[in-house]
Each structure stands twice: as structure tokens, then as C-alpha cells.
């Protein structure tokens, strides 16, 4: 699916230069479920952002589906992103002014899909994540777990091949966290590639592989034996 080669990211502000990622080499195959772990500030989000093309690397190569996208401009990246990648955030990031249904549909609006098909697909994913009975509600009327389910639905409604999740359970209690993890697992089993940042070893266990970051370096990669 993707391959990072000697990839670095340096943030420069007026006084300090922060090396967020330092010559990282990572390869993720299609259909994998990967967890990224590490202490706060070690570069997890940065890595995820670069993989998700929300940010560009300072140096190194990023091969995404046989294409080196490291030097691509924003418009090009945006185009690849919307075809292939879905996002789930810790803070849900639903639009307050739109209903559940409309929030999910938003992911299709930028894809030139006819309205009737949009409705079908939205209905389908809402069923899948079990939020259909809340279709007309506003995000503020939902619990955190429900909001995250909406976010998951939004991430997959466009049939994205890969989902990037940055601490998707960070704002949820353990029961709701569990629910979301099971949902992700199911998606993975259906073929979606999932890359997830998490602090919870229990949640990391859902993944087949864990990448441990420390200070911008990949320190270990643990492969869990197939069950």
C-alpha cells in the first residue's frame, strides 16, 4: 500500500527547530491493521498526518500505491487523499451545523456522486455502524461514542481503502472505546487498511502489528502472531 523511505519532518519556528520525524522507514501493506504507539510528543500524529497527506515531509520519499507523492502539491495530494483515505480523529470533528446524515454525506459531496446513490450509501454505512436511528440528530445531541461512530461512518462511506485514526478512543470511556475498536476490526476484516495511533496497549492488541516511536525514530516493530 505505502512505503516511507528515510522520511524526516522538521518543524521550524523562529527560535527552535523540532525534528518530529527522523529518517523513518515504514512499509504498510494493503489490508494491514497497524497501531502506532509511543510517548507524547514522539511524532505519532506527525507520522499519521504525512501518511494521510495532510502534511508533507521535509525530506525522504513517500511511495503511495507505487507513486512517490513526497513532492506533490496540495491539490494533487487532496485528490489522491479523497479517493483513498478516510480519517478518524480523537475529537470527532463533526460539523455542528449538520445532522448526522448530512455529516456523513459530506464525504461524498466532493466525489461527484449522484444524490440517489449518496442517500443509499449513507443509509448503508449508518446501518453498519448502528447510528441509523439518529440520522436526523445534530452532533451535539449524541454521546461521544455515537459521535465517533458517525465519524467512522464518514471515514468509510466513500469506500476508502485506508483509514487513519488518531487516538480514536482517546475521548471515550472504555465501553465505547471497545465498540469503536470492534468496528475498526470488522472493517479491517472486510479489507480496509487501518493505521491507528493509540496510547492503550489493549486497543493496540486489535492490530496485527505495532510500530513503536520514540523521539522521531522507529524503535521496534512487533508483529503479533496470527491467531
Amino acid at each position: 500500500m505505502l512505503k516511507l523511505h528515510n522520511l524526516s519532518k522538521v518543524y521550524r519556528t523562529d527560535e527552535v527547530e523540532t525534528v518530529a520525524l527522523n529518517s523513518v522507514n515504514v512499509e504498510i501493506a494493503s489490508g494491514e491493521f497497524v497501531a502506532i504507539m509511543g510517548p507524547s510528543g514522539c511524532g505519532k500524529s506527525t507520522l499519521l498526518n504525512i501518511i494521510g497527506m495532510l502534511d508533507s515531509p521535509s525530506s525522504g520519499d513517500y511511495i503511495f500505491m507505487e507513486e512517490n507523492v513526497a513532492g506533490y502539491n496540495e491539490a494533487k495530494l487532496s485528490n489522491i487523499r479523497k479517493q483513498n483515505i478516510g480519517f478518524i480523529f480523537q475529537s470527532f470533528n463533526l460539523i455542528d451545523e449538520l445532522t448526522v446524515e448530512e455529516n456523513i454525506e459530506l464525504a461524498l459531496l466532493y466525489h461527484n456522486i449522484p444524490a440517489s446513490e449518496r442517500r443509499e450509501r449513507v443509509a448503508h454505512v449508518m446501518d453498519k455502524v448502528g447510528i441509523a436511528h439518529r440520522a436526523k440528530h445534530m452532533p451535539s445531541q449524541l454521546s461521544g461514542g455515537q459521535q465517533q461512530r458517525v465519524a467512522v461512518a464518514r471515514a468509510v462511506v466513500g469506500d476508502q481503502a485506508m483509514i487513519l485514526a488518531d487516538e480514536p478512543t482517546g475521548n471515550l470511556d472504555s465501553a465505547h472505546g471497545q465498540e469503536v475498536m470492534e468496528m475498526l476490526q470488522q472493517l479491517n476484516e472486510e479489507g480496509t487498511t487501518i493505521v491507528m495511533v493509540t496510547h492503550s496497549p489493549a486497543h493496540a492488541d486489535y492490530a496485527r502489528r505495532t510500530i513503536n516511536l520514540f523521539d522521531g525514530h522507529v524503535v521496534t516493530e512487533n508483529l503479533r502472531a496470527a491467531e
Binding site: S45, N49, G52, L54, D55, E74, A75, S78, N79, R81, K82, F87, F89, S91, N93, L94, I95, D96, E97, L98, E102, E105, L106, A107, L109, Y110, H111, R154, D166
Partner: protein
């Protein structure tokens, strides 16, 4: 997709109701004010643009010039110039002339006063006036024919048939019958050519009048010339002085030819006559000032809109970030926000137009104008407004749009706090700009008002109340009506003069001071003996003039000549200028006064009166000399009993009818004439005050919106401060200070600007108020106070809120 934009936009607006309504309302008010002012100004500038080939039609105006005397501009031209123009300029296609005069009209035994154009043949064709019924062809028109406008026909005949009907006019002291031969279109309201009543010109009507000379001494023809298309008017104008040189007769005997005086000719395009022609009392400068104010208000409103929209961007950053993550391109984001902003601006524009519709009647009353807004009939105006809406929308939206287009989604999506999107500096700058304009307008409005009040309170030196001025009495029955008037117990005094206060005098006398040296110039005023009594001008020394022989410079007799010696009165300034230390010292002294360069009079000073205003209150009082000339007593001033005003007016009517049964009474009141002098300045002052209020209001709306936004944004910070021990007063102070800074800076910008402008304006007044520092400080403090009051509510609310709530906010 657009439906989705629309939905988010609408819901976002609804969610921040207060904010949105302030945003839209503020812009709408600004636009409405802008439209109202521009309508008025445009209206003033668009006079007489309706004529066919208006751009080729020019009015010929003569101005008499005399060395050592002020120019005497007239809106007219002298008789010989028509032929001279035809002979000199091949480019002249046609010339239309008429004499504009008021006559007494008799219809069904009733008398009316009617303004009439005594027009040369071809008048209607020249101006392209539509003949609705009947005919008035130059070839077949008879001297007894009349062309009257539809509304005039209705005034005299109502619904009855009009063509062929008789109307009787009193011309040259004689009643003459005329018959309506044509009904023509009503004149446009905003036109200097009011063709309501057209009478074929006939030399005979004026034969006896002193002014009706065929030479260059009197300009009485309203003269309009049409030039061939594309004529270079600069070349034509360059020829005008040469025309005067060649054709104005010189070196003939008699005092009234071109020897001591000359003339300048002016050609004013018919569209400019209303504002720039001779004899207009329009003030183009004031109109430019208003236009400036209009744009300033628009600027404030747009800045407001921009500012509030920007404040809202922070609220919507998350939405945009999500859209971008989901694949929205830069172009789509720009489209969304530009579209939204333009939509809002149009909403505001619609609201503004509604406000204008509602306000127009009051506005017209306020300005005594008749402005209309007819958008459907005026595609240009409609287009301009649409453009304005789009322009405002684009300028406000483009900032937002570019900001969002550049937005890096992960900055927003990963941060817990709504980021201050780096616009706070810019927003503060915009608040400074708004308040600079508002404070400057406040200061200017204050001093303009103060000056107007000051001028109003100015001691004129005479009593203007209860004075009625009659004209049309400068004839052999002058004494008769004076006697009749004085018989009434309600009439206290009657005086005569060639002009009355507020009008200024035309005569300038050159007199050598008793102390020697060059001759000095005094304003001369021909009066009758009772003039000072009527105007209640106190005597400082000596006595007033009487009608005794030695006091009379010229009597009303056949072929009257000036006396070679006469007693005269001067004012205090005049006495001083002539070299007398005290008024008393002047009494009995003789000076020789040059009435003109060929007429010297030995004048003995028998009285010195206090100085009084004779010109506009804008001008200084000037040294004056007063003498009795019964021939030049065209105005009769009547002092009436103020407690019996109606009875006094009735007595005047009665005396008039007894003396002049064939004409109708026309009079003016002195207090109205005085009032009219202040009218334009008053109008300026009122408009300025009203629009300043509006500007301040709009600025405050902006500040209020910003405060509500800031309060929302800073709840967390303030929560933390409170947890750390800040007191209520500390927090309120913190918030107030944040909004005080821009207002204080605004003052620093506004003061010099206002000072510069005001100093310039006030220099146009002879008696002006001083620009004290205090009003500047007070206005500045006022603005600050208004600002505080505006944000205080929010500051308090935030300061009072429980920090726990604030900290849970995210």
C-alpha cells in the same frame, strides 16, 4: 453541493443569531445611508440632463465688472449678443431666448401671480418641449397666443376645455387678453427652464421700462445657445473676451456705457446651470462633502461586515478543515465563502433598499427635496447597486475565503482551542479605522453645529422680527401706499430702500478720508428717510435723515438728477474709515463722495448709526454710507405689531388693493430671509449630525459583535485567570482595556484630520467659533464611553461566569 453550502451557512447564521443580525443590519444601515446620500447628490448633479442634446446647449451669462467694485454676475445676457454670436460662431446652430418675469394674471375676475416666459419664436422647438394639444408653431403663432403646461391648464381650468380659452395678463401696467393655443408637457421638476407659461415676446410690452435697453447696459435675456455636435468649447470660450472688446461700445458720453465698466461672458452647459450658473444658491462643495460622508459610512459598514465575518471565521475553521480532509479543493472553499458572503451582502442590500423606501418621505421632508428611487426604471442605478452588493460581498468574502483556502487542516483538527486565526491584529486595525472615522465625524458635526448656532445668535444690528418686505411699490404711488399703511394701528413704521438686509448692496462709493490719503470704499445704500426707524438701528450721534430738501440726493420727479450736495448718514465703521476718532467728531463734516467716476457729491455727515449686517452673516459688516434716493426705493419694509400679526397682514392686503387694484400683493418676511441664510448651513449641520449618529451606531454594532465574539473566545482564558485568583474588577478591566486601545488610537488619528478640515471650513466665515481643545477631548472621551457601554455587558457576563463551566467548554 450548493444546497449543502447554503444549509451550513444558514444554520451557522441561525446559531449565532445576534452576531448575524448585527452583521447584516450594520451593513444594511450603512448601505441605506449611502444610497440616501448618493440619491440626493446625484439628484443635484443630474438637473437638466433630460433635454435633447443637452451636452450641446449652453447658457450665455454676463457678469458686469467695474474697477474697485465687486463683480455683478447675472444669469442673463444683453440684447445685442444673440446677433453677435450668430455672426461670430458658425458652430452656433440655434439660440433660444426668453425674459423670465412674474406678472399678475386675471381669470374669472380673480387675480393670480404667474411666472411667465416671454419667449422668442422657436422656444418650444429649441428645447424640444412636447406640444400635447393645439399648436404653437413659430410660423403661425400669433402675439395673443399662449402655450401653457398641463398642470397650469389644470390650475386655471380644471377639467374644462382649455384650448382657445382666455387668460388676461397685466403687462406694462395694462391688462391684455391672451388665448391658450397649445397645451405643452409639464416641465421636469429638476430643471432650470420651467416652461409653464409661454407668451410670445413682444417689444411693445416693455417699451417703457428703464431696463429694457437694446444696448449692453442691462442683461435681461435668458439666452441658450446650441452648438454643433463636437464643438470645442475651449476654443469658443477663448474667443469671448475678444467679443467684448470688439462689440461693447466705449468712449461715448453718459455714465452708463462701457467706459467705466466692462463685462465678462460665460457659457455654462445647461446641465451645470443649477449648480454652477450665476445666481444659483446651490453649493457644490457641500455636495462633495456629502459624497465624502457617504463613502465614509459605506467604508465603516463594509469594515464592520469584514470584521464580523472574520470573527466568525474562527467558529468555522473546524468545518472548513473537515471539508478539506474530505476532499474539498481550494477552489471549492473559496467558492463557498465568496458565495456566502455575497449572499449576505445581497440580503443586506435588500434590507437597505427597504429601509430607503421607508425613509424616503421623511428624508425628503428633512431636506425639502423630492427624491425618488425607481430602480426598475433605472437599469444603470440597479446595476450599480448590484455591483455594490457584489463588491461588498467579494471584498468581505475574499479575505475569509483566502484565509480558509490557505488553512492547514491539521492545525485546526488537532488543536483543542479554537485558534485565534492570526486576524486579531487586522481586526483591531479595522476597529481603529472605524472609530477614527466616527470620532472625526463626531468632532466635525459638533463644530458645524456650534458654528451654525453661533451664526444664528449673532447680533445682526437690527431687529428682524415683525418685518414685512413689499416689492412693486417703486412707482408714483409709493407715497400713497405708505400713507395707507401707516393709517393702520397694527403697522408701526414703513421705510424704503433699494435693497434690504441679507441681500447686500450693489453700490460702492469712493471717498477721500479727512485725514488725507487714498480714497476708501464704502458700501452705499439708497434709502428713504424712515429706513433706520423701521429696522431699529440705533443712532450714535447726530440725527437720522428726513425728506427735507437738503437730505435728498435724488427726488422722484420726471428726469430726476442727482443733487450736487446732500446730507448723508454713515455707520460707525464708515466714520472710522473716513478718519473720525468718534462718531460725534463726524457730525457736520463734509466729504466728497464719488457715486461713480463721473458723479461727485458733496456729502455732509449728519448722523452716525451703529454697525449692522447688510450682507450674509457669513460676511463681515462693512463700512456703509446711506443717502436718500427716491428713485431707487424698490423695497418697502413694514414693521408690524407682532401681537396682531394677522390683522397687520390684512391691513397690508387692504392698503395694497386700495392702491394697486390691478396687481396682487407679493411680500417676504425679514425673519424668513434671515433664516434662509442659515438654511444651507443648518441643513448641512442636520444631515451631518444624523449621519454621524448612524456612523457611530454602526461602529458600535461592530464593536458589540466583536465583544461578544471575544467574550466567547476568552472564556477559557478568563476561567483560568479566575481559578488563579483574578477578581471581577480585574477581569472587567482587562476586557475594557482591550477595547479601549483601538478607540484611543482612533482618537489620535481623528483629531488632526478633524482639526484640519474644520479650520478650513470655518475660515469661510467672518465670525467663527474657535477650535477649542476641550470638545476634542470630550468627543474622544465620549467615544470611549460609548465603546465601554457597548462592551460592558459582555465583559461583565464573562467576568461573572463560573470558571468551571468555562473550563469544561471544550
Amino acid at each position: 453541493m450548493f444546497f449543502n453550502y447554503f444549509k451550513t451557512a444558514l444554520r451557522s447564521l441561525m446559531r449565532h443569531k445576534l452576531f448575524s443580525s448585527i452583521n447584516i443590519l450594520g451593513l444594511a444601515m450603512g448601505l441605506a445611508a449611502f444610497i440616501l446620500i448618493i440619491l440626493f447628490v446625484r439628484n443635484e448633479f443630474s438637473w437638466d440632463s433630460h433635454w435633447d442634446r443637452a451636452e450641446d446647449i449652453y447658457r450665455l451669462e454676463n457678469t458686469y465688472v467695474r474697477v474697485g467694485q465687486p463683480d455683478r454676475p447675472t444669469p442673463n445676457a444683453v440684447e445685442p449678443l444673440k446677433q453677435v454670436f450668430f455672426d461670430t460662431f458658425q458652430e452656433v446652430e440655434a439660440i433660444a431666448r426668453y425674459i423670465d418675469g412674474g406678472v399678475t394674471l386675471r381669470h374669472d375676475g380673480e387675480l393670480f401671480s404667474q411666472q411667465v416666459h416671454f419667449a422668442e419664436p422657436g422656444y418650444l422647438d429649441f428645447f424640444g418641449v412636447d406640444v400635447l394639444k393645439g399648436g404653437f408653431d413659430a410660423a403661425s403663432v400669433k402675439l395673443s397666443d399662449l402655450a401653457i403646461s398641463e398642470r397650469t391648464a389644470e390650475k386655471y381650468f380644471g377639467d374644462a376645455p382649455v384650448l382657445g380659452q382666455k387668460l388676461t395678463l397685466r403687462i406694462g401696467g395694462e391688462f391684455r387678453d391672451f388665448y391658450v393655443s397649445a397645451i405643452i408637457a409639464d416641465p421636469e421638476v429638476h430643471s432650470v427652464v420651467q416652461h409653464d407659461f409661454v407668451v410670445p415676446f413682444n417689444r411693445e410690452y416693455f417699451a417703457g421700462a428703464r431696463w429694457f435697453s437694446e444696448d449692453w447696459r442691462f442683461a435681461y435675456w435668458q439666452t441658450y445657445a446650441r452648438f454643433a455636435p463636437g464643438t470645442d468649447m475651449a476654443l469658443i470660450r477663448a474667443e469671448l473676451p475678444a467679443i467684448v472688446d470688439r462689440f461693447l461700445p466705449k468712449n461715448q458720453q453718459g455714465q452708463e456705457n462701457g467706459r467705466n465698466w466692462s463685462m465678462t461672458l460665460g457659457l455654462v452647459n445647461i446641465g451645470d446651470v443649477h449648480l454652477y450658473g450665476n445666481g444659483t444658491n446651490a453649493k457644490p462643495d457641500v455636495l462633495y462633502g456629502f459624497t465624502g460622508v457617504a463613502f465614509l459610512i459605506l467604508l465603516i459598514a463594509v469594515v464592520n461586515f469584514l470584521n464580523l465575518s472574520m470573527a466568525r471565521t474562527a467558529h468555522r475553521a473546524r468545518e472548513v478543515a473537515v471539508r478539506k480532509v474530505l476532499g474539498a479543493s481550494r477552489r471549492q472553499v473559496v467558492q463557498q465563502f465568496l458565495g456566502e458572503s455575497i449572499l449576505l451582502a445581497f440580503g443586506a442590500l435588500l434590507l437597505a433598499l427597504t429601509m430607503v423606501e421607508i425613509a424616503l418621505p421623511y428624508y425628503n421632508e428633512f431636506l425639502s427635496s423630492i427624491i425618488e428611487m425607481n430602480l426598475l426604471g433605472e437599469p444603470a442605478m440597479l446595476g450599480a447597486l448590484v455591483l455594490l452588493g457584489v463588491g461588498v460581498g467579494v471584498s468581505a468574502g475574499s479575505f475569509q475565503a483566502t484565509y480558509f483556502a490557505m488553512l492547514k487542516p491539521h492545525d485546526v483538527l488537532y488543536s483543542n482551542t479554537a485558534s485565534d486565526n492570526g486576524t486579531s491584529k487586522l481586526r483591531q486595525g479595522l476597529v481603529v479605522a472605524q472609530f477614527s472615522i466616527s470620532v472625526a465625524l463626531m468632532i466635525i458635526a459638533f463644530f458645524v453645529h456650534k458654528q451654525t448656532e453661533f451664526a444664528r445668535q449673532l447680533d445682526l444690528g437690527f431687529t428682524a422680527d415683525n418685518l414685512i418686505v413689499l416689492s412693486g411699490t417703486n412707482n408714483e404711488r409709493s407715497n400713497e401706499i405708505k400713507q395707507r399703511l401707516l393709517e393702520s394701528p397694527f403697522i408701526e413704521a414703513v421705510g424704503r430702500s433699494s435693497d434690504v438686509p441679507t441681500e447686500g448692496s450693489e453700490d460702492r462709493l469712493h471717498i477721500r478720508p479727512v485725514t488725507g490719503g487714498d480714497p476708501v470704499m464704502l458700501d452705499g445704500l439708497p434709502t428713504g428717510p424712515d429706513f433706520f426707524k423701521v429696522y431699529e438701528i440705533p443712532l450714535l450721534a447726530g440725527r437720522y435723515l428726513t425728506d427735507a430738501g437738503a437730505d435728498v440726493l435724488r427726488d422722484r420727479v420726471e428726469d430726476a438728477e442727482y443733487a450736487s450736495a446732500a446730507n448723508i448718514v454713515v455707520n460707525e465703521m464708515g466714520a472710522k474709515l473716513l478718519g473720525f476718532e468718534t462718531p460725534d467728531a463726524a457730525i457736520g463734516q463734509q466729504v466728497s463722495a464719488d457715486l461713480s467716476s463721473s458723479l461727485r457729491v458733496d456729502a455732509t455727515i449728519v448722523g452716525v448709526v451703529e454697525d449692522f449686517h447688510f450682507d450674509s452673516a457669513r460676511d463681515v459688516i462693512r463700512p456703509g454710507i446711506y443717502y436718500i434716493d427716491f428713485i431707487r426705493n424698490s423695497d418697502m419694509s413694514v414693521r408690524i405689531d407682532g401681537n396682531n400679526r394677522d390683522a397687520a397682514i390684512a391691513a397690508i392686503e387692504q392698503a395694497w388693493h386700495a392702491t394697486y387694484p390691478d396687481s396682487i400683493l407679493r411680500y417676504r418676511t425679514m425673519d424668513e430671509m434671515v433664516e434662509r441664510q442659515y438654511q444651507t448651513d443648518d441643513q448641512l449641520s442636520n444631515i451631518l449630525a444624523a449621519f454621524t449618529l448612524l456612523a457611530v451606531l454602526i461602529s458600535c454594532m461592530g464593536l458589540y459583535g466583536l465583544a461578544s465574539f471575544t467574550a466567547e473566545r476568552r472564556t477559557k482564558e478568563i476561567g483560568i485567570r479566575k481559578v488563579l485568583g483574578a477578581r471581577l474588577a480585574d477581569i472587567v478591566g482587562l476586557m475594557l482595556w482591550q477595547f479601549s486601545k483601538p478607540i484611543l488610537i482612533a482618537n489620535l488619528i481623528a483629531w488632526p484630520v478633524a482639526f484640519y478640515f474644520l479650520n478650513d471650513w470655518l475660515n469661510g466665515f467672518a465670525y467663527r467659533v474657535e477650535l477649542g481643545v476641550l470638545p476634542f477631548l470630550v468627543m474622544g472621551a465620549g467615544a470611549l464611553l460609548i465603546g465601554w457601554l457597548t462592551v460592558a455587558g459582555h465583559a461583565l457576563a464573562v467576568a461573572r461566569s463560573n470558571p468551571i463551566n468555562a473550563l469544561k467548554h471544550d
